[in-house]
Amino acid sequence: MQYMFLIYSEERPEGPPPEEIERIMSGHWAVMQDARQKGVLRAVERLKPSSVATTVRTQNGGPVTLDGPFAETKEQLAGYYILECKDLDEAIEWAKRIPSNCKGLEGGIEIRPVADIPQLP
């Protein structure tokens, strides 16, 4: 079963403090390396901060382009992993290892099971 790990982090305008950056990166590298070795790493991406996000919304029946993230919440999407896991417990163990303060302040990981896309006819 594939799970997506959405990393939500509170953003600090100047990014994480320098002494934290190394710890965050080495945390991610360890997860990536381990997942790759076990053959379960399906995808991983790091995202630029929400200050450079653009949202295209449907309003009054048509698409409208807006500055900013989809929702103005305290914590913003900072990146994601997709990993192959046996079950939710295994996914939770991965989530415990993924650093979630990537954009400077505290954060959390949302685990979502990946659903199948119906086949094209």
Partner: protein
């Protein structure tokens, strides 16, 4: 039949869920098997091991169903491999090897109380599957409309299936973290029945019995866990006072209870279980609360209560969970052992700092100490303040009675 359902359905469903890998299919198969028993047993007599009969019959139905589904998926000729599904294990002789999976119930407890489910869902699912209570019974016990409860069950089961919550006992290194929500659910089930609010008294008593029964199952399956035993001891000791706690619909305080109504054998079992717990492992919050309950249970009269020791135990409890409510209980114990003045001082400090100004029990406790000190006017004011802060009819009745007593002085 109903007795079999009550006592064994948790065990049966646990095994069926493992075999079916689905709560819904397992439930459906079990229902069909009970329906089949309704026909077969009056004719052929009750089998030697009814639970094993039901499990085997339901298992058979599961196999039939998966065969049918496979046939359909493979687009083979429909019904080609279908065995006559009415064929029940009529020749069942009572071999109960299929029943000896104690792990199944343990798996089920951990799945129902998985931290990825919300607590409402955990409680509903635990009572429905392990407790064998009907949706209607659970809804009545929690004073909820039945559709609301049914919705909670559907949501929890869907999450288990869709999110891939495993059906297994967690490995030893994760056992402790996963046991915490299991104990919380069991204690919540018990307390829902124990704390006097409203609702059907009989159903509420059922919930207490169910909480105790589930704790016993947990203690049987994971022998020697000190906090599981502590939880069981705590519930046994609280529940031993059930017949003395209410008198014609009104709450009776511990001090005023007729102690001859306390269930002595159950108190003995509670104390024995607590001793066993304390020998088994490190102390924890459930054992400490059980120890407090044991000291109350052991006092022949209210005056014999070892309040000094109770104060110390609350102090120990504060080290695990530092909440103002526990600090309030400690202050009361100190008032009863070291002097009213000292207790009062602590309560007033809590009122100022602890965020308990709006908590009716703080004012009730304060009023009670003032009453004992003979400061009737101040006690009356505190009872009035407590009355402003609670809507619970049973509590209000008690406070009004006390207020009348001090006002008369």
């Amino acid at each position: 039949m109903e007795a079999v359902f009550r006592q064994e359905s948790g065990r049966i469903i646990a095994t069926l869920i493992r075999l079916a890998r689905s709560f819904d299919r397992a439930e459906e198969a079990m229902q069909e098997a009970f329906a089949a028993a309704l026909v077969a047993w009056p004719e052929k007599g009750i089998p030697q091991n009814p639970a094993a009969w039901i499990t085997a019959a339901a298992h058979r139905k599961l196999i039939d169903r998966s065969r049918r589904e496979r046939t359909r998926v493979e687009k083979q000729e429909a019904l080609r491999y279908e065995s006559p599904s009415a064929a029940l294990p009529e020749d069942w002789t009572g071999d109960d090897s299929a029943m000896h999976f104690p792990d199944d119930r343990l798996r089920l407890i951990f799945t129902c109380c998985h931290p990825a489910l919300n607590q409402e869902g955990q409680v509903a699912l635990t009572l429905r599957t392990l407790g064998g209570l009907t949706t209607g019974e659970i809804a009545r016990a929690f004073l909820l409309p039945e559709p609301t409860l049914a919705q909670r069950l559907v949501r929890a089961k869907r999450k288990i299936q869709e999110a891939g919550i495993p059906y297994e006992v967690p490995p030893p290194e994760r056992l402790e973290e996963r046991l915490a929500p299991v104990r919380a659910v069991i204690y919540l089930i018990f307390n829902e029945g124990y704390v006097a609010t409203a609702g059907d008294q009989l159903v509420r008593r059922d919930l207490c019995a169910e909480g105790i029964r589930l704790a016993r199952v947990l203690c049987d399956l994971l022998a020697g866990d000190s906090e599981n035993l502590g939880l069981l001891a705590l519930m046994l000791l609280h529940d031993s006072r059930r017949d003395a706690r209410m008198r014609s619909g009104a709450l009776v305080t511990l001090e005023e209870q007729d102690r001859s109504l306390w269930d002595r054998p159950q108190i003995e079992e509670g104390i024995y279980t607590l001793r066993h717990a304390m020998r088994s492992g490190p102390p924890g919050p459930y054992q400490l609360q059980a120890a407090i309950a044991a000291l109350h249970a052991e006092a022949a009269t209210p005056a014999d209560t070892d309040w000094a020791q109770i104060g110390l135990l609350y102090g120990g409890l504060l080290e695990f969970t530092n909440t103002p409510v526990i600090a309030l209980n400690q202050a009361v114990a100190i008032a009863m052992s070291s002097g009213f003045q000292e207790g009062l001082k602590r309560i007033d400090a809590l009122s100022a700092s602890g965020g308990l100004e709006q908590y009716y029990l703080l004012h009730a406790a304060r009023a009670d100490i003032l009453r004992r000190m003979g400061r009737a006017r101040e006690a009356a004011a505190a009872y009035r303040r407590a009355l402003e802060l609670t809507g619970n009819q049973i509590e209000r009745e008690f406070l009004r009675r006390r207020l009348a007593e001090v006002a008369a002085e």
